[in-house]
Every structure is written in structure tokens, then in C-alpha cells.
Symmetry: C2
């Protein structure tokens, strides 16, 4: 219920500690921040939050109970039942819980919510995050880029629907280097690749549409398409990528579309071969199936670049191509792009205007400058070198500690190693114990219900020593659970 | 279909002009940017785009027709029917038009799309834009702010779900100055106020819910709630704001919620009186109705600040409070906020993570710095002074040119004057003629089907001379149409 910022109580206050807890909770209730019906944190969470004993918390809760503000068994199910106003006025406030439960969107999987929280905990070794380490972020470059672009900014007004023109022009140039011919008119700037998927789901597909995709896939960890009433249908995959011969049988009578991550697949790391790309396009042309190509990891190769995008060989405007600066530069910029046939881009630009009136101009200017100054290309080279070292460190640690009890692929790029734990141990337990012992990874079950024996380890974020330490700790837990 | 960037042809090329047009269109078709089935721009649009005669365009289109690439009567209905690949391969590409038509979201009203386009035309006098003039944007302040905040940034990673903590802390302080007590935990950073509405529509309300609201209202110009399957029910309004006695009868058996813009209403400019605010809260408490308070214009007062927000008197967590930096600082930052009970904020933060993984960190840092440095407060003072001058200029022009043929309110803040044209002239015609003659305003019909005789004039954006000139031209057209 609350975020994990520490709220330390004052030892020197004239109020005893438990009274400070009472005051804190009362303020939350009186201000309406914790309205009637809301669940209180557990005693354990309170104790951690304030850095006090559980007994102090119990005393505080007893007092609030006596005042008639909260009710319920101590522990998980304590709820706010009154606030000082309702005690006075005897009226009932809106039942927000009912609202919270009825919205159109499903909540994130609870394990994803738990991960979201643990990811901001500095004491945890982060082997989950799909994000570059901050050591790869150059504050100096940010300075240079901002300094240069501010001179081009005369105001930060509402942008044209497709996004900042100088950025789309730079992107059009960049895309030609990977074989994609498109004018700025066919590019839509989005707030990250995720928003591109969101726009496609509400702007192009109807309820009951079918998404054909690799399994496991990043897309299984999201709700975007399911929330919009669509179904998933999995395609077989081998080490060359998805197997196109499967498609004809899987395609549904209703609207269907393919989603694929051909380069450095999340979570498996697989790169779709040149030949497969050709075959896939051919089958889709024949079957009249559009393709969403999610290519956010393309530039993060170790030794050689992956084959050109599907979009580069797309002769009919069959492919919607998605890219992002999140993985290569900084996710906090929230800048990605979508390339497609102009009528499709126009439609999605119109919807983006309805949803958020465009992405941050400041971010768009910054990225445009990063591209035009050449600093982006330079940064990519540094990132590739650094990721190579990280990957090797993780591979060494895996060999040293998990040899014989796990298998894994050797990725040619991207951020992740997809690890299969061989002994049949309870993986939920592994996840929880590791988290308790300060190591966070993503369980494979997020990406496919068939992948419970897998974990996704990221080598992009943690320090080299944390990578080693993290894998060591995981190996110890696995051995204990065997 | 295309954006209005100019593509000048080369007079010195060895290719004749019409051939250059052919090549341009062919490239669009071959690259898949204009897939089969897409509508070509009209001859007139092409001519304008390339700066050539219509006869040149006609010759080019005839050639493409002869090659079998396009078909249809010349003019509006010319379509792409083949591309060089399909001519060769005889396969059919995906029918994107079908996709474009089937998405979940409705397209923007065509008049809104037309306005969106005209707003980036520098030759038009902009009396529509709800946005500060760029003369009020201080590049110097942007420099200062960016310089200071870059020193606090060590990387731009994915943000915590509710948004950058230093920004939420600054907002919590700011909000206390307008009577709202809330901790950073009860604040969600959003990509503009529009996104707050979007999140509420998909995160809290179910299909078939009813939104009670003022009519006319900004909300009528959007599709967010209707796209999510909700209904509108209008409440009566007088010059004190909406009339709460109406609510009990309008409330539906299904889920209902109130949407209101109590301070400097868009488009009417009305400020809800202190007494009305109290009554409204009381009725909503009794009826158990939650309220969305859209307060984006609050700080833009002329002589005196409006009464405290409804949220300031909210004792039960009944009110969701929405604010934004779009109107006061810069819309291109895309930073707004939502304040509400913590469980509601948690739920909406989770959905925001599903939709776009948070707002631009760069923008969030910039705004946090604007607040903490005091530059924001200073900027607001300058803005108020400037808006006062603009308002008076517009009022003078109205008196000079529209006296007797129109009536209007005298706003106490915000950006808009709500003008009623007295003679029964065809307003669509007024809008179109004005646009042809280089003046853009928003027709009242966008905000209510009952307000066809109204126009919304914005004094925030155009220069003082453009304001006078624009109103003069409107008056001339009105007189002609009488
Ligand atoms: C395959 C894939 N697509 C899209 C995204 C979303 O990235 P962005 O930050 O650009 O929204 C991710 C990141 O998690 C990803 O792994
Ligand atoms: C009443 C009202 N609410 C919300 C908005 C959206 O503003 P933002 O740019 O913060 O999304 C506007 C702007 O048009 C508005 O007039």
C-alpha cells in the first residue's frame, strides 16, 4: 500500500514513538489519503517503515481501534472504517475500492508489481532490470546535448501529432542505415516502445483479434493486448527464431496479427536468421498477415550486427516497425518510434493526441541532438564494449557456480541470459528466497506458463562484482532446494 | 493525408517537374508508406505541397494511372491500387484500411483534426490555441533550470511508478499553499492532465458509467470517456458554476462520477463560487459521488485568485484533483499530476506502468527544479501580468468590432472569452471562411451541440496586433453572413 521510503520517527520528540505512529496514521486517514475501506499495511510493513518494534506498532493500532478509526484482526486485514469526519457527520464516503476493482484494465500480475517495487531497492542485486547500468550514462554528454538543443528551442508548445519534426528527420536518416526507407511522415514518435504497442492495441485491433507470437515472449508479461480483449496464440520457435510454417494453421478467421522480436529476443536472446526472416515475410504476404516487429535491442550486439530488419525487406507496407531509445540510451527519456504505412501512422497519431497530446518535447529535442551530433553513435560503441565485458563476466560466473545444475544460451547481443534450472526445484521458492537474500531476477513464468523452470538474468545493470555475487547466491539457494 | 512540410521540386533537375512528382509518389508507394488502398492527396493538395500548377499534377497522376499503380477519378477519390511488387508478384497486401477502421478508439472529430492541422500553420492568426505565447517562454530560465538539474541526474532510468520523488515532494509543498494536504504517496505524475483523464477512464470506471458534467465543457471535445463506453449527463450551470441541486436527479443507478472545471472553466471562463463549492461537496457526500476536479487554469488569475479547490475541503477522499504545467509553463513538458486517495493512486500508477512506463524523467527533473528554484512562482507572476494586458486588448477589440452583434463574458482568469454571436448566421460557414482568411478560432459546437452560436476565443497565444486583426476579420465575416 505504501512506498518504501523510510519515515524515521524522532527519538527526541516529546511524543512517545507509538504516539508518533498514531499521529502519522491519523493524518493519512483525516486527509483522505487513506479513505474508508482501505487496507492498512501489515504490522511487519509498518515496523519496517518506521524502523520500530512490532510491539510499538501494535500499541498504536490498538489506540486507533479504540477510537473507532480502524477495525479488523491485527495484521493483514486491518481496515480504515471511519474517519474523524464520518464519526462526526455520519455520512458514507465513496467506495473507492469498488472503483478500483471495476476499471477496464487488469492490474499487473502481482509478481510484476512485487518486482516493480523491489527494483527501486538499492540493497538488492538487480539481475532483473532490462536497463543499462548508470555507469554507462554520460552526464557530460547530457550536458552537451542539452546545451546545444536549448539553443534551438524557442518554446515548448504542443507538438504536431506525429512528434518533433527534427527528430523524425534524424530518425529517417538513422533508419536508412539499417535498410529502412521511410520519410518523416511515416514515423510516429511514441513515449517508449510500450506505448507503440498500446496504440496498436487500441487503434488498429478489434476485440477478439488474435496475436500470433513467440512463446515465451516479453508480450506475455504485459496486459496491454488482453486488456483490450485480444487473444494470444503461440508459434513454435527454434534457435533460428519463430517457425513460419506454423502460421497458416494458427491464423484465426477473425483479425490476426503477428508480434515478433527478431533481434535478441526478450527473454530468450534468440536472433532470427536471415533465411527465417525471408520465409516469415513470404508467408505473411501470402496469408495477408500484418507484422509488428519489435526491434528495441537491435543495436546492442556483441560481435556482429543482426540481419537487417524485416521492415527493410517489406515491399507492401506489411510491417509496423518499433524502436526505442530506452535500451540503448536511457529509458527515462521515454522516446521510441513506430514506422508504418502513412494511413496507419496518421490514425495512431490521432489516437496519441487523444491519449496524451504527444511525448515530452524536451526529451524529443534531446534525442534529436544526440543523433545529429554523432554522440549517439559514439555512445553505442561504448555500450557494446561494456556489454561484452558484462556478458563474459556473467557467463564465467554461470560456469563456475551453476555448471551441471543449469543450462543457458550464449547470447549474441541484448541484455539477457535465459537460464534453465535442471533439478525440479520449486521456482517460486527460489524467487522468494533469492529476494529475501537480496537478489532479484525475473522468473520465466512471467513470459510463459510453460517456462517455470527458467529464469531471465540481466547482465546490463548490476556491477561486475554484484553479477558474480548474485549468481553465487542463486546457486547456493538452488543447491539447498534440491 | 500528408503533413504540410513543403517539398520544393528542383527546377534545375534534368527531370521535368511532372516526372519529379511521379518519382516522389512512386517512392511512397514502393516503400509501403502509401500501401494499397490508401487515398492520395487531392490535386489541390499536391499542387500546394510541391508549389506547382495543377496541370503538372494531373500529368503525373495520368502517368501513374497508365502504369496501373493508381486508380479512380482524379481528385479526392484517387487510390493506390497496386505497387510495383504486387504487379510483379500478384499477391495482396494486408488491408490496413480495415484495421484503421476497427480499432477501439474513435477518431477525433474531423473538425478537431482540421484544427490540429491548422494550428501548426504559421500564417494563421491563432485565436484557438489554449497555450501561452512563446514570448512568455524564457529560454534563459530553461537554461538555468536544466543546468541545475543535470547536476542532480546520475542516470535517466525507468522511474518508480508514481513518478520522480523530488518532483512529488515539490508538488506536495506547492499543493499545501492552495490548501491541499497530501504526501508524495498520494500524488501520481502524469503526462499532462489529459493522461490523468485517460487513466481514470480505463482504470476506475466501468463501461456504461455516467459522467455528470457542466455543459458546455472541454470534456465534450474529447473522446476519452466515450471511447471507453461511458455516457455523459449534463448538469445545469449559471454564472456561479454548476448547480448542485441537479445532481440527485441526474445520478444514475450504475456507477456515476462528476467532472468539473471549477476555476476558469474551459470554455466558459466561469469561476465556481465559494458557496457553490461547499454545496457541491455536500451534495456529493450525501449522494456518495466521487468528483474529478480539473484545475489546470487555477494559477492564471487576473486580479484575485479563485476560491480554494474543492480538494482543499475534501474530508473523505472524495475528490480526484488534476493539475498540469501545460497552461502555466509549457505543454511540451507533458507534466501534470493527479492527487487522490492512496489506493486509487496506487491503482492508477500500476496502469500507467502498463501504458507507458511513466513520464519523461528529463521533463520531471526540469519541473522539479522550476518549482524548487522559485523560478516557477516568479514566472507565474510574469504570466499573470502579461495575460492581463492580452485580455484587455481582446476585450477592447471585441467592443470596437463586435458590439451589438455579439455578447461575451469578462473572464477573471484563464485563457478564453466565450463569445455568443447574436444574428443567426451559419456558424460552420463562419469557421471555414475565417480559416480561409487566416483566422482560427474554436467553434462552440465542439463543447456542446447546444452552443452552435458560440465561439471560444483565446487571448493567450496570438500577438496583440494579431488579436485585434483577428477579431476585426471575424467581425467583417459575421457582417457579410448576416
Ligand atoms: C521487447 C521489448 N519491447 C518493448 C519494451 C519497452 O521499452 P520502452 O521503454 O521503449 O517502452 C521492452 C522493455 O522492457 C522490451 O523488452
Ligand atoms: C480543462 C482542461 N483540462 C485538461 C487539459 C489538458 O491539458 P494537458 O496539456 O495538461 O494534458 C486542457 C487543455 O486543453 C484543458 O483545457
Amino acid at each position: 500500500m505504501m512506498e518504501k521510503e523510510n519515515r524515521k520517527l524522532s527519538k527526541s520528540s516529546h511524543l512517545p514513538l507509538y504516539q508518533q505512529v498514531v499521529v502519522y496514521i491519523k493524518n493519512k486517514i483525516i486527509s483522505g489519503e487513506w479513505p474508508i475501506g482501505s487496507k492498512l499495511p501489515t504490522q511487519r510493513e509498518f515496523a519496517k517503515l518506521f524502523g520500530v518494534n512490532r510491539s510499538t506498532v501494535v500499541t498504536a493500532l490498538e489506540e486507533l481501534k479504540a477510537e473507532g478509526l480502524i477495525e479488523g484482526k491485527m495484521g493483514a486485514s486491518t481496515k480504515v472504517v471511519n474517519n474523524t469526519w464520518t464519526l462526526l457527520a455520519n455520512t458514507a464516503p465513496p467506495d473507492w475500492n469498488k472503483f478500483v476493482k471495476t476499471g477496464f484494465y487488469k492490474p499487473n500480475q502481482s509478481i510484476v508489481q512485487e518486482i516493480n517495487k523491489a527494483e527501486s531497492d538499492l540493497n538488492i542485486i538487480q539481475l532483473g532490470k532490462g536497463e543499462l547500468s548508470s555507469e554507462l550514462f554520460s552526464v557530460e554528454n547530457l550536458h552537451t546535448v542539452m546545451h546545444r538543443c536549448i539553443n534551438r528551442i524557442d518554446s515548448l508548445g504542443y507538438e504536431v501529432p506525429k512528434g518533433l519534426l527534427p527528430l523524425r528527420q534524424e530518425l529517417s536518416k538513422y533508419l536508412s542505415t539499417i535498410g529502412i526507407t521511410c520519410s518523416p511522415d511515416s514515423i510516429l514518435i511514441v513515449s517508449g516502445a510500450l506505448q507503440a504497442l498500446q496504440l496498436i492495441s487500441v487503434g488498429l485491433l478489434r476485440q477478439g483479434s488474435t496475436i500470433l507470437l513467440e512463446e515465451p515472449s516479453y508480450l506475455y508479461s504485459l496486459h496491454i493486448f488482453q486488456s483490450a480483449g485480444m487473444k494470444f496464440s503461440s508459434l513454435s520457435v527454434d534457435n533460428q527464431g519463430l517457425i513460419p510454417s506454423d502460421i497458416a494453421t494458427k491464423k484465426q478467421r477473425n483479425q490476426s496479427i503477428i508480434y515478433t522480436i527478431p533481434s535478441f529476443h526478450n527473454p530468450t536472446g534468440i536472433v532470427m536468421s536471415e533465411k527465417r526472416r525471408k520465409d516469415l515475410l513470404q508467408v505473411c504476404e501470402k496469408e495477408n498477415l500484418p507484422i509488428i516487429e519489435d526491434d528495441v535491442y537491435r543495436e546492442l550486439w556483441i560481435d556482429t550486427a543482426p540481419p537487417l530488419p524485416l521492415k527493410a525487406k517489406d515491399r507492401h507496407g506489411q510491417v509496423l516497425y518499433i524502436g526505442s531509445f530506452s535500451k540503448t540510451l536511457s529509458p527515462g527519456l521515454r522516446v521510441g518510434w513506430l514506422v508504418g504505412p502513412e494511413p496507419v501512422i496518421n490514425r495512431l497519431a490521432d489516437i496519441k493526441m487523444q491519449i496524451d497530446y504527444g511525448s515530452s518535447s524536451l526529451s524529443q529535442w534531446a534525442v534529436a541532438e544526440w543523433l545529429s551530433s554523432g554522440l549517439y553513435a559514439q555512445h553505442l560503441r561504448a555500450v557494446r564494449g561494456n556489454l561484452t565485458i558484462r556478458l563474459h563476466t556473467m557467463l564465467e560466473a554461470l560456469e563456475k557456480y551453476l555448471q551441471g545444475i543449469a543450462t543457458w544460451n550464449i547470447p549474441k547481443g541484448g541484455f539477457f541470459i535465459w537460464v534453465k534450472i535442471l533439478p525440479a526445484i520449486p521456482m517460486q521458492k527460489l524467487f522468494e528466497t533469492a529476494l529475501d537474500e537480496g537478489v532479484l531476477f525475473y522468473p520465466g513464468s512471467i513470459y510463459s506458463s510453460a517456462c517455470t523452470q527458467y529464469l531471465r538474468l540481466s547482465y546490463s545493470y548490476a556491477s561486475l562484482s554484484d553479477i558474480k555475487q548474485g549468481i553465487y547466491r542463486i546457486s547456493q539457494i538452488v543447491k539447498k532446494l534440491m
